[in-house]
Symmetry: D2
Subunit: 387 residues, 4 copies
């Protein structure tokens, strides 16, 4: 359990970071929702604030007055059990509350929380809730970056978000294969540090001999797949991946553009020529799978990845695994509304491991289980081969 | 033909009026597009500006430099023949160009136009184009108001646009019936004043005896229809109207809300109790038709309306007619891109006559042919009975 | 009013004709519904039978016992006011009742009707209902042919329906123009012969000078339009026609196939090389309009067509007119369920005049108002130019 | 490897069984496809025949002449790599080839195969292909039964398929819990008998202590869940299950009908009162999961099920497991078109274990991995609790 002072530091630094991320935006950028998965930045700022107001201040802070009885409910996301909410597809249709209002709301709640944390001794349970609230906001910080990238990167003017943002670290190593011996291993979160409920339940798994690459697949390698006709060879694809690709006329990763015969990539630093040695990014699970098929290899499972991960560097791309997102043995949903956090998504999604250039600092770890539907590409998703 | 001075006045006053309408908005209100028919206000401001740049300055103003080679094309609407354009459903996904940029663009073009009009003698043809540009912008002023009403009126916070805006003038007269004698009449636009191409072609029509009400149907009268089960009686409805009503779960006009058992109406002045004697507004053609069926009467045709119109007051509501929007005898599409203005919409739409509280001053007349699809309700649409 | 003997003859000949049409089918052909507008032939046979059972025998024949209390209701079409019905899109999902059952049902009702007509003196009102029932069945005979054509013509095996069926009569005349003088004319159905309610209300119209072709547009002429790029020139099309064409990837009339570089046409007699001089068929209103635009001409209105029609031959193609399907002055919906026959479709459709090679004999006349949505092509639709 | 005589027996008995299943149908029942997952029976009969013609006779039988060069290709299902095919959603739109044609085609191919098997010594490889062809047809026999149930059970007349068909065996035992000890176990197909490629790769798994019920959940137990408001308690459901349920207005298993206050169930033997002690059937994975949540338990994984299965009776219902359908360690896709059999479906589906009253005899085994999307209910799907 964090000390109260550590909690205060975590809280303040988290709140500040969200605002730093948004400091590069124009007011208009906060408002739009070009596709359902991409929420307006002002919604993220409001929603992470609503979380603290709803689950902490309303419950625990004596005499706390809601900032605004009428508006705040628009920032509920999926907590069906906490009353009325704006349907997700409508988030981009709401010009009000304004961005200025959202910042006032943030300041109001941040100050009330700070006052509360300085005055009241928080119980272990409440500390846990606040810590979740901070990590929840860190998750939304990553979403802020990926959603901003989608908003600006699908605008025909391709505006720059922040020239300094570095998306494409080069992996300056030779490709090599980490060999893991067959046997019983233990996975799951062990320490007392923060983790989500879906990582809990340390348990044994039996693993066969396998090898895993020390290096993510690069842009250059993926171009070979494209040029070899990988997008046109039905035998490399899942049936639903093939349909997805055809329906959406996909023939390259998201954000790739061929301009005057040269591959370019939209990045948060603007449109730029594709860097051949950078790790591939913004691919769907289907594309990751088809690439691995083409190489005669496969994707690792999440258990393999976790067991092998201290043998290679990771953290620039979320790495698709072959594993579906299902509960660990002994998984228990938390009581009440916070029980809606993870468990209710445990069907039809794939696990991703690692972390990305957009992941908030200290917000990932070897046991972290990220999950997305197999067709989604707006996260910084990449791929590491196994065999 | 207008004198050059009249043209300058018309132009300046038109440009100023659009900005006055928007002066009540927050930046965020300029950006969203909750449904496809409702464009973001910044799009209207940009599009009406693009019209003058594209069709006047680029063609006629020597040495004119485009304000911005890259951005302006996002404001093309439907002129397929004038190159690339952003698809309509995407207008609300574009956070850039910003509102500030749009105002700079407006100022740049307004000033360039003003300089041009003060320096150059415009030909009759060019005068016609500029006049169309002004009337085009007046049309968009009406759309600005109805689109703003939709944006704010579908926000769960129901923000006020402008407390002073009066939507609901009372018709302070007894209902009476204007009788028109059977015979040959002439309709269509006769004078030299401005009109659209779809009003031209004065032509004779043969009209049977008919009567038309001097008064629009009121809210109170429509409530009687609702309470008599009008929305549940299939025999009153067109087949496609019945489907539309069921699919969209419609049981009252747009913007009506029953709050604590009392009918309220969202207006540009905010949420307010429904005014019983105000003219009914925001109904579809299907609802207008079903009401008339229920009364054992009918809607007038556009020819009947035009012949009878100087016998009653009109202008607070667009009045649905039974007439489909088809070309007048001898209708000719204009040459070039401006030929896309009216003719290409002459199928599957209904004619509305009159004008509304949102119509720009001097922008309607007895021969004006407005048109919308039968299901649309976001305009100030009402109904006048005939028999 | 028909004599009782005439009524009996009409009834028997009508019933026999439907069965003759279906005698060329395999059992399986009676069942399928490839698109919503195309009903399974067994549905047509059952529905026309249900009409007589529901509106005649149940009401007027003492002691009549329903053929089957449970099954017959599946043959209600759109009579919302006559109780439960199977939704239209589900017609092709029903394997039961079987085709054999439907024929038994037909025989049962046909015999009951024949007995009734031989025994009872029918009133004028009932005579009218039975006559409508016969004409209703004749309408469905045309639909049977066009629906069968769709079912077989969209089967990849392109089976022959009936080698003897002649779709493509040559118009063996020179193109000429019929000139009609400006003035007041009368249109609408005058004689005592059968007609639908939508033709009633003889009324005066004022017509301007116009010319209308004595000859339908031919396949050869339409190929010129295709080869001149008519399908790619946006300025020729209505906005919604352009979208329709693009969404559905239309670039030639329905049933046209280019096989080894030669145009072929699927006909009820099988796949055959296109006959250049045959009248064009199976086009949408949008295509008819675009062709006329390309020729610098237009489509006639329905009034023009009716006034001019005795100056040319017609009857091989339904001819799209510019007129929308709206009520004639004084139109009154019939009382009760039969009131759903015509009036409820009077929105968003276009009038077609004439008749086609699939129209039942004696089932059309100069005042007949056929109507379809502008995008539909499965009827034998063609076009005659006016100017 | 089967002896040639065993192969002949397997082949003949398989072919006969498909025809026996269809012997209860009317011709019309063979044709319809009410939803995309349900194929017309004639398609199943043709497709299983095409399999032998395409993969055996065309390749291996000297001088074999195709039954019909033009028609057979309509029976390709999803073998993208074997040329043109009719899209799946269109299967129910094809009245031709007729049912009689399909039976001729079956007889032709069955006889050619029999002749071939009696004359030629088949290689091990070919024996494997033919065996797959037989098991493939057995899979389609199960689909025939479930598709027929859907076709007749969604017909408003609820026709009986076969009065003798028994769907609802009572489990005449007390509920008890099988306890399995933690440790390393081996799963996967071991013997030389036939199995699919997805069962291969015997491998070790580590299993925690768990208990599994000896008895499937019964109708009576599920009614308790319904009556306790299980369908209305959001906290019991996956997010996408909740949406599925609401969108499709689901509040009971498929084929359940409340008639005069009593639960009934459509069965292949007709509509019948629900049997309280029969095993629950026709539920989605979402419903299985929600029920288990409500009981405070869970579904077993497929490994748990396989390890425990010889401690209880199974085979009347396909049992949803928590496991996603992913490849076993070392899974290899077969070469060529048959490689499309299993691997391409290994995403977004759930594994079901066991077998059902509709499963062909000898066509299931403890290692059999069935798989369906979580929302599907037309199979005989049930649920067994674990904890």
């Amino acid at each position: 359990m964090l000390s109260q002072q550590e909690l205060i530091t975590l809280f303040k630094e988290t709140r500040a970071q969200s605002e730093l991320i948004c400091s590069f935006l124009e007011t208009e950028d906060y408002v739009v929702q070009p596709v359902v998965d991409v929420s307006p930045p002002k919604w993220h700022l409001g929603h992470t604030t609503w979380f603290f107001e709803e689950f902490v201040l309303k419950e625990y802070a004596k005499d706390y007055q809601l900032f605004d009885r009428h508006s705040a409910y628009v920032f509920n996301s999926y907590y069906e059990s906490v009353g009325e909410k704006v349907i997700r597809t409508d988030r981009g249709n709401l010009s009000r509350p304004t961005v200025a209002w959202v910042y006032e709301y943030r300041n109001f709640v941040t100050k009330a929380m700070a006052r509360f944390l300085e005055k009241e001794k928080v119980s272990e349970k409440l500390c846990g809730i606040i810590e979740i609230g901070c990590h929840h906001e860190k998750q939304h910080q990553e979403l802020l970056l990926t959603d901003i990238k989608y908003i600006l990167g699908h605008n025909p003017l391709f505006p720059v978000y922040n020239k300094q943002f570095k998306e494409n670290p080069i992996q300056d190593i030779e490709r090599d294969w980490v060999k893991i011996e067959e046997g019983v291993y233990e996975i799951g979160h062990k320490s007392d540090d923060f983790c989500y409920d879906n990582e809990l339940g340390v348990h044994k798994v039996y693993i066969n001999n396998f090898e895993i690459s020390n290096k993510l697949v690069t842009n250059k390698e993926y171009i070979e797949f494209i040029e070899a006709g990988g997008y046109e060879d039905v035998l490399l694809w899942h049936a639903e991946g093939w349909d997805w690709k055809n329906t959406n006329r996909i023939s390259s990763p998201c954000y790739w553009h061929k301009i005057n015969g040269e591959w370019h990539q939209y990045t948060l630093g603007g449109m730029t020529p594709l860097i051949p040695d950078a790790p591939l990014s913004h691919i769907s699970f289907y594309e990751a799978f088809a690439y691995a098929q083409w190489k005669g290899m496969r994707l690792p499972t999440e258990a393999e990845w976790e067991i092998a991960q201290n043998n290679f560097n990771w953290g620039s791309r979320w790495e698709w695994t072959e594993s579906a997102y299902t509960p660990y043995p002994g998984f228990k949903t938390a009581e009440g509304a916070l029980g809606e956090y993870n468990g209710k998504f445990m069907v039809s999604q794939k696990v991703l491991r690692g972390g990305s250039v957009a992941t908030s600092k200290k917000h990932t770890r070897p046991t972290y289980r990220n999950f997305f539907h197999p067709q989604l590409r707006w996260q910084f998703t990449g791929l590491r081969l196994a065999r």
